[in-house]
Structure formats: C-alpha cells, structure tokens
C-alpha cells in the first residue's frame, strides 16, 4: 500500500474538465452547454448531409467540368428538394405530423430507457432486447384476453412494461451481484431476446392460425392504442395515444430523477457508487432498480409498436429502435426533455425521409447518414468547439475553483 494514492491537493482537477462520460451523455453539464453542442451537431450534420447529396449527384458532377453553372444549380435543386421533402414529409400536413409522432413515440420511450441508465452511470445497450420482450408480453395480453378497451390497453401496456423490466433487471442483478459489466450482458440479452421472439412467433402460443411464417395472431381491437384523430376516419393518419404515453413517461422520468429520493439515489449511484454506499444507499438494489425502470420504458416502446401500429407481431417489429435510442439519449443529453426533443427530431427525419424517398431520387440512406453524423459530432464535441469557436463549460467552470478559503 502506497501512501496517498489519491492526491487531493491544490485546485481540484475534477472540475476542470468534463469526463468523457459527461461529454458523451451530457450528465452533469450546465444546461446551456448541454443544449449548444447538440444543436450545433444537428446543424452540422445537415450541412454535411447537403454536401453528400451534392457530391453524389453523378449527373451534376459530370457537368461540373463543362458547365459549372448548371451543375451547381442542379446540385442546389437536389439539396433543396431533399430538405424540402424532409420538411414537408414531417410537418407539411396532418398526415406528415401524424407520421412524425408515430415514428417518434417508440424512439422517445426507448431513448428515456437509455437516458435513465446513463443518469445512473449504466450503459444500457439492452434497450433492443427489453423492447422485444416487452412487445411480446404486450402482444400476448393483446390477443389472449377479452376485456373492454379502457382495461385492455392499460393491461397490455403494463404487461409490456413488466416484460421489459424483467429483461432489464436480469443484467442489473448480474452486475450488482457478480460485477458482470452491463454492456456485455445487455448485448447478450439482446441476442437471446431476438431468438426468443423468433421461437415464440413460430410457437402455437403466438403464431396466427393457418400461417407458416413467424407472424402472430392479431391483437384484439380493444387492445389497439386508440387513434388520436380517429374521428377524421382517415386511414393514413396513424397517430395514436402512444405519443401521450411517451410524453407522460418523459414527465414521469423527469419527476422520478429530479423530484424524488429514488431519482436522487439513481443519480448518486451514477456519479459515484462509493459515495452512494457511504450515504447509506443500497447500491445493489439501486442498480437492479435502475435497470428495471429502464427495461420497463423500453418495454413500453415495444408495446407501442405492437399496440399502436402493427397490431400483430413479426420478427422485425422492433426495427433498430433500441439502438437508435442510444444515439437519441446521447443527443438528448440524457435529460427527459432532451430525449423528447431528439425523439421528435428523429421521428421527423424518418417520416420526412419516407416522403423524400417518394418524391426525389435521393436514397433513404441519407437519413442514416445524418443520424450517424449527429453522433459523430456529439461524440467529438471538440470538433464542434473548433468549428464554431464556442467557449463551452470547460474554461468557465474551472473558474469557480478560484474561490478559496
């Protein structure tokens, strides 16, 4: 044992620089900083996206040598067209807004799941698996019981949350009891969930009668999340009650994290598990609790898919939401409102992307590119600082260390 392994003298260094974890997740940053970088990241990603549109316009590129004016005009048309349809497809009509909400709902719920994990210092990569299991629970309740809608929908949602919570709590328990790292275990749990879904969709419990493929029985109409604009009787306006569930969940997470002793404990464990133990908290059960709550939120996301849109189960019902949720939580700085905002943004990108695909010859992959670029810029805040010459928290924060006895 060496003496003083923790030098604690002079100006504390901990305040000088945000750690990588803080930089990435936004946990612990002052709010203006927390918003500035994501906003600039989104903007930068859109700009780079525009450049990519331009340089992949092969026809225009060919013209560049002979007739640069026309070429540039064509490129501009492509960019303008893409972003115009992205906008119109996400906000240009009732249907567009409805699609944005439909796409945003599970993203918000799953994003909250990842964010609450970040707040408690846990990397929940398992949202995808929790989403799948939650969805399967909701699905089962959706087709197997026959009760009125005001009971059926809440019961199915509850089942979904429960399924996700169980799936989330397992890695939590493994970490708390054995120290197994949650990144590894949640990834593995994703694979298990994926295979279980494949298996159960082909089992007699789930599989629709008379079908050979892994498609489940449809859920009862009473289990379907009611349409928000059902009175319009428009089949293309799919927005449903799920978005309300998502917003309530966001408020719930906000309340839990910042207004309750439970949230105080979650955050304490996230910042400093040893300090949490010192403060008399049960770190073991907190980790399990955080993972269960995170799992429940992801389970709700899966339920939203089943009960709100698909009304049945198929192997790919979860899409890649559980993974997009990680991006989302990073962009949303792990704050519930941030997650809602980025969920709406990603929902709008997806909804608008569909419309862009219909109306232009730009590939849907552009959306993936923009999303990926957002992550790159978020993950490299130094890049944003350098580009925009913003002075973020670092220098300002360390000032307060100048106060002394």
């Amino acid at each position: 044992m060496s003496t003083g392994e923790e030098p604690q003298v002079s100006e504390p260094t901990s305040g000088e620089e945000a750690s990588l974890f803080e930089e990435l997740t936004g946990v612990g940053l002052e709010w203006r900083t927390a918003i500035l970088v994501p906003a600039l990241a989104v903007f930068s990603a859109m700009v780079v996206g525009a450049i990519i549109i331009a340089v992949t316009d092969i026809d225009a590129l060919r013209l560049l040598g002979t007739n640069p004016g026309t070429a540039l005009a064509e490129m501009w048309d492509s960019i303008w067209g893409a972003y115009k349809w992205l906008f119109l497809g996400s906000m240009g009509s009732l249907r567009a807004v409805s699609e944005t909400l439909v796409q945003a709902t599970p993203l918000i719920l799953a994003g909250l799941s990842v964010a609450i994990g970040f707040r408690a210092g846990l990397f929940n990569i398992g949202a995808q698996g929790q989403l799948l299991v939650g969805g399967m629970f909701a699905l089962f309740v959706g087709f197997s019981i026959h009760v009125p809608v005001y009971l059926h929908v809440p019961l199915a949602l509850l089942a979904g949350a429960l399924g996700g919570a169980i799936w989330g709590a397992i890695p939590g328990l493994l970490k708390a009891r054995t120290g197994a790292h949650e990144v590894i275990t949640t990834i593995m749990m994703n694979f298990i969930a994926l295979r279980l879904v494949d298996y159960y969709l082909k089992s007699s419990w789930y599989q629709a009668a008379g079908r050979d493929d892994p498609v489940s029985k449809p859920i009862e109409v009473s289990a379907q999340l009611p349409k928000l604009f059902g009175f319009l009787e428009r089949s293309d306006v799919r927005a449903h009650l799920g978005i309300v569930v998502a917003l309530l969940a966001a408020y719930g997470v906000y309340w839990l994290l910042f207004k309750t002793t439970v949230g105080y404990e979650f955050r304490a464990v996230g910042y400093n598990p040893h300090g949490a133990k010192y403060a008399g908290m049960s770190v073991t059960w907190l980790i399990v609790g955080v993972m269960a709550v995170a799992g429940a939120l992801a389970g709700l996301a899966g339920s939203d898919r089943i009960l709100g849109v698909l009304h049945r189960g198929t192997p790919g019902f979860a899409g890649t939401i559980g993974f997009d949720a990680i991006t989302l939580a990073l962009l949303g700085r792990s704050h519930p409102w941030g997650v809602v905002a980025s969920g709406l943004l990603f929902g709008a990108l997806r909804a608008g992307g569909q419309e862009m695909q219909v109306n232009t010859d730009i590939s849907l992959d552009l959306i993936l590119v923009i999303q990926a670029l957002i992550v790159v810029f978020i993950a490299a805040p130094a890049l944003i600082r350098a580009i925009y010459r913003v002075k973020t928290a670092r220098e300002a924060e360390r000032l307060t260390t100048g106060w002394s006895t």
Partner: protein
Amino acid sequence: MLKRRLSVVALLAAIALVVAACGDDTTESTAATTTTQAATTTAAATTTTAGETTTTEAMGPAALVCQVSDTGGIDDKSFNETAWNGMLQAQEQFGVEPQFLESTDATDYRPNIDSFIAQGCDVIITVGFLLADDTAAAAADNPEQLFAIIDYPVIIPGVGPIAPFTETSTNARGLNFNTNEAAFLAGYLAAGMTATGVIGTFGGINIPPVTTFMDGFARGAAYYDSVKGTTTTVLGWDVEAQDGLFTGNFDSLDDGRAFAQNLMDEGADIILPVAGPVGLGSGAAIQDANAGGASVMMIGVDADMFFSAPDLQDVLLTSIQKKIDAAVLNTISNVLVLGALGNEYFGTLANGGVDLAPFHNFESAVPAELAAELVQLKADIIAGNVSVSG
C-alpha cells in the same frame, strides 16, 4: 428514375456508421453495394437490345410499376434485388417506369404502399411474407389497385384464399415458387455425386420459402436411394419432423462458414446453404477445406450462383434457381398485355419458374448417365409421374 446515387450514399452511410461505432447493420449494406453493379449489368445483358426500348417508348405514357422492398433493401443480393431485376427487365422490354421504396422497419410497409397507391402505380409488387398483412389490408381498402406479392400465396386454386388474404383479394396475385421441384433434382444429383454418402443443408429461418428448398433436396436424395438401393445421409433437414439446421439470420457470413464446417466435420461433401448471402461464407469455408485436400461441393440457391458469385465457381456443382425476376416480368407483362394480373403464379419446372442450373465447371465430373437420369426425372416431375412432396 433509377436510383443511381444509392451506392455512393449507402457506402458513405456505412463509413459514417462505422466511424460512429454504432451498433447498426452496416456490413450488409457495404457488401450489398459492391455487388449491385454486377447484378444490374448481368440483368441488362440477358435482356433485349436498346432499339426495342425506343420503339415501345413511343407508345404513350409509360406504365408505372412499383416495388416495396422489405427491410433488406433493394440491393440485398437476395429476393428484393432479384425482384428489382425483373422490374428492370420489364423496363427494357416494355418501357415501363420502375420505382421502389425501401422500408426501414415493419411500420413503413403500409405508408410505402399507400404512397404508391397515391402515385397511381399500375401494379404494386411487395416482397416477402412480412408484407402479407399490409398488402392484404391495402388490397381490401383499394379494390381497384393491382398488387402482387412475392413468396406468399393469395388465393390458391382449389384451396381458396390464404389468410390474411380473403375471397375478395382478387386484385392481388401471389408469386409462388415450387422450389422443391428443382431442389428435388438437386437432391437426386447430390446423392448421385457424393463420395462419402453424406450430404448436408442448412437454412436461414424456418419459414416455408426456405424449408421448401431443404425438403425437396432431402426427398430428392431419398428418391435416389430408393431407385438405386444406396444409403445417403442428409444432414440438416428432417423430412418427418419438418425441422432442421438454421442460422437464424440471412446476413452472417461467419455463420455460413461455421455451419458448413460443422457439416463437413460430419462427413458431408455436398452442401446446400439456403440463407442468402450466408451461403457465401459456406462457399469460402469449402474452398478452404478443398485447399487442404478435401473434395467438397456446394449447391447454390435463388440465382445461378456461377454468375452471381463468380468467386465460388470452383466449388459450385449447380444452383437451384428460383426465378423471381421471371415471375415479376410475367406479372407486369400480364398487366400490360391482358390488363389483368392473371392467375396465381406458381413457378415450376414446367414453366421454367424454377430450374436446376447447368453444372458449368463440373460438366465433365457429372457422369453422363446421371445427367441423363436428371433429364428424365425432370420430365417425370413435369408429367406428374414422380411426386416431389412424398
């Protein structure tokens, strides 16, 4: 309206995602991108000259034919892409304007179909069983719109509608393939060619479009045994239990390697992987084994892999062809010429919708006698003298 930029954008997306170390399915798209061009050129090469195209273009506004791909994407080197090749052939032959929409996940199917309905497509082709429910619902909501769905039956003559389709789903056509007929031939061939008496197969997921290959293969081998009095062991598919060996995915080349290696360890010297690109991994594993002195062959699926996977020419005994492009072309032709979808499509040996590809490099290795028997067997299957389903 060809989405030429796809490749570049997809590639950039892949790079960006890899940089971001995001847990997304990017390897697939890079792999797919590189092959898109090859596939398109071969498709173009097999069709008619440009001269004909110009004459048909003069005939007034082009018909709009539309394809909704599943989440695999248009360049999946599997059924989405083969179907799209059929669309491109229709463009060459009839001057139609092909369009596609890709789906990022299951909730996109219906909006994509609806977008095409709004655009006034002459026929909308949906790809795969995952789109069955949405196709059936859209067909019911829009009785005037024509649909065709690949690998899913709509109304089977003599049997009736297959859920979720109904009696009224007459505006939809299922494009089905009796792949087991061609697979039966492949099984017969394999049983005749194996030196070890052990042949093997594995699939992607246990769904009918996959298992029909495996079932036909196993039954064909059994038929050979019953005729010749030999004993051939078929690994990977149990005809009685209707179950077998599955990778659980259609994209892991590593799984393809591992599964082929396992089968080879069990003595199999002819392997039939039925899992799209996964088979490429198997082919590579077989090449490695052969380089080490083994003598193992592979049977390709869907397209004649001698052309679509030229790297594997030295191990490809033959391929079980499932001509989705022909079915798509047939459907579009019906719509343009007859003004109707036509009856449910079943690709068979008789109509050339399924077939056994040439032996290519193994032409001389296959005994003339066995080749002749295969010709006779094909004729017997077409004539109904031999049943491929037991």
